[in-house]
């Protein structure tokens, strides 16, 4: 449904996309995971016809993005990482305007606007200007705007970035409904939890290229299986705990003296819970007093660390530039505008 082959885009010295390939099958959700500056936004802008790549090919719903951008625009909905809704218009006016610009016709555009305001729990705010909306409400309206023409493919560029935890949870429940309804979605995010929750499969992007792909479970398996973790009560218990875990686990246990924690990987052969029971019995025999135990599955954070050698953080060197000057139009820019409006 969405296909990208060898997309390259450079801004001067900076390579925002370095030959990126991806495919999103119909009806599935692809999570594109990467830190700021990894090229996620640039990729979405290319696929949504906003930005011509230097080279490479892209198709959406079987239509060539570069050759027939206008036909692609009829098929897609885009919700950006900053809410691109007009803050001087009301929620209703925003959706009505978008409907008219999709050429739905006057009455159909109005009906669709009302329907979406209901679906996104914005009826009460329908006639208030967007200026008065909370961040979460703006994002929901932005998402609603992307859905006006019932697009076949939906592009969500960091739909929850900048939201507070409550706004994020609300957004996730809205997105989960959409995903359940079978819309084809390309979702970019820097939140590992978000990709884990919403996407069928995940591509990990760094420096404008896909560095890993698969389902969440497959990616986690690449990092290794479960980890058994024990926190002991006293520092002098640590050597005993380390000895026991090394014996039950599959590699040497690692020990964190400050947190008084010992962990060992239990990759695959036996279920983690079984290993844990075994470990606890032996720890008890050794007279080690245990404060806390856990079987931990690896998170996508671990995946990212393993794949890129660094944790999922901003790349200070190229963060701004490869986000297409997003600083100018993003949150920083918006603040300046609010000051101007005052």
């Amino acid at each position: 449904m969405v296909l990208a082959e060898g997309l390259v885009k450079t801004y001067g010295e900076i390579r925002a996309l370095g030959g990126l390939d991806l495919a999103v099958p119909e009806g599935s959700v692809l999570g594109m995971l990467g830190p700021n500056g990894a090229g996620k936004t640039t990729c979405v802008r290319v696929l949504t016809t906003l930005l011509p790549p230097d080279s490479g090919r892209a198709e959406v719903a079987g239509i060539d993005v570069l050759r027939h951008p206008q036909r692609v625009r009829e098929m897609i909905g885009l919700s950006g990482q900053y809410a691109a809704v007009d803050e001087y218009l009301s929620g209703f006016e925003n959706l009505d305007m978008v409907g008219r610009l999709y050429h739905l016709g006057r009455s159909a555009a109005r009906a669709r606007a009302r329907e979406l305001l209901g679906q996104f729990r914005l009826e009460d705010a329908a006639n208030r200007t967007v200026k008065t909306y909370s961040g979460g409400m703006r994002r929901r309206l932005d998402l609603a705007a992307a859905l006006v023409a019932r697009p076949q493919v939906l592009f969500l560029d960091e739909p929850t970035t900048g939201l507070d935890p409550r706004g994020r949870t609300e957004m996730w429940s809205v997105l989960a409904e959409l995903v359940a309804a079978g819309t084809t979605v390309l979702l970019t995010t820097q939140y590992l939890e978000e990709a884990d929750r919403l996407a069928n499969s995940i591509v990990v992007v760094d420096h404008g290229r896909v560095i890993a792909q698969g389902t969440s479970d497959e990616l986690k398996a690449q990092v290794g299986g479960e980890v058994v973790e024990v926190v002991v009560a006293e520092a002098h218990d640590l050597p005993g705990a380390e000895r026991v875990l090394t014996a039950v686990g599959e590699a040497a246990a690692t020990r964190d003296d400050v947190a008084r924690r010992v962990r060992v990987s239990v990759n695959g052969r036996r279920p983690g819970a079984g290993v844990l029971v075994d470990a606890l019995r032996r720890l008890d025999d050794e007279g080690v007093s245990v404060l806390d135990v856990a079987v931990r599955r690896p998170t996508l954070d671990d995946v990212f660390l393993r794949l890129t050698g660094h944790v999922a953080e901003e790349h200070p060197a190229d963060g701004d530039a490869s986000r297409d000057g997003a600083t100018g139009r993003g949150r920083g820019g918006r603040k300046t505008m609010e000051e101007v409006a005052r």
Binding site: G80, A84, E87, Y88, V98, R100, L101, H103, G328, M337
Partner: protein, 267 residues
């Protein structure tokens, strides 16, 4: 629907959106009318006490110039608004929709004509209070106002190019003032140009601002045979010369603005 009908209806949708904003943020309109009012009062009562124009009350002479200056200053709004839309990502939203490519620019400049109408009305009322009178026929007066709007419309397209190039509303204002101030002062806007130093006088004679001002004065009947304009073609045929400029500006800057829009949005 054909693409032509789409282009018109999309342009109207965007015009409506921009007009709603003018209504919702009245500050813009207030400030774009307060400063010309201030100009009328300052020039009429301060400079007016020292400047004499043969055969014409200075306040009547002044209004033509203030009208032209005001619509030129007002056109920076076109550029600033486009820069703001770019900055806020709204242009991205528009560009991801299957709408007509020209609609954003057409809708912007059309809405700014609406803005200008309001400003001109307020300014005319202020002028009437300060002693300005229209001494021509109704048709000529209407022609005068239409010429003002047409000239403003052309300048709007120039500012659209500026706004899309600099992308920051504040800079649009500052950058355009550097051009607008000399443009509107090296002209017959506030004083007769006869005693200008030679070089500046030539600039003033051929400055489209002068011709437009002269044309507006003639159409409002604010001229006097005792005070003919300088004997140069642009000021002896000011309506024609002003209209020529409008055509040339549109021919150059409409395509430039469209090109700049594509480039600005694709960054």
């Amino acid at each position: 629907m054909s693409s032509m009908t789409n282009a018109v209806s999309d342009g109207l949708v965007i015009t409506k959106r921009n007009l709603i904003k003018i209504k919702r943020v009245p500050d813009v309109l207030v400030f774009s009318t307060v400063s010309p009012i201030m100009f009328v009062l300052l020039f009429a009562y301060i400079f007016g006490s020292a400047i004499t124009v043969p055969g014409v009350n200075y306040r009547e002479f002044l209004m033509g110039g203030i009208f032209v200056q005001t619509v030129i200053f007002g056109s920076t709004w076109t550029g600033a608004s486009l820069a703001e839309d770019l900055q806020k990502g709204i242009i991205d939203r528009f560009r991801s929709l299957p709408m007509s490519r020209s609609a954003v620019l057409v809708g912007r400049t059309a809405a700014d004509v609406g803005n200008n109408i309001v400003v001109i009305v307020v300014l005319a009322l202020t002028g009437l209070v300060a002693g300005w009178r229209i001494r021509s026929s109704v048709l000529e007066a209407i022609a005068g106002f239409l010429l003002l709007l047409l000239f403003a419309y052309a300048i709007s397209w120039v500012m659209a190019v500026v706004g899309l190039a600099v992308r920051t509303p504040e800079i649009v204002n500052n950058a355009s003032f550097i051009v607008i101030f000399p443009l509107t002062f090296m002209a017959n806007t506030f004083v007769p140009i006869d005693n200008f130093p030679t070089v500046i006088k030539v600039v003033a004679e051929w400055n489209p601002v002068s011709a437009t001002t002269q044309a507006v004065r003639e159409l409002f009947g604010n001229t006097h045979p005792a005070f003919p304009p300088p004997d140069v073609w642009p000021l002896r045929n000011p309506e024609l010369y002003a209209l020529l400029w409008v055509v040339v500006i549109l021919l150059v800057f409409v395509p430039l603005a469209v090109r700049q829009y594509r480039r600005a949005a694709a960054r």
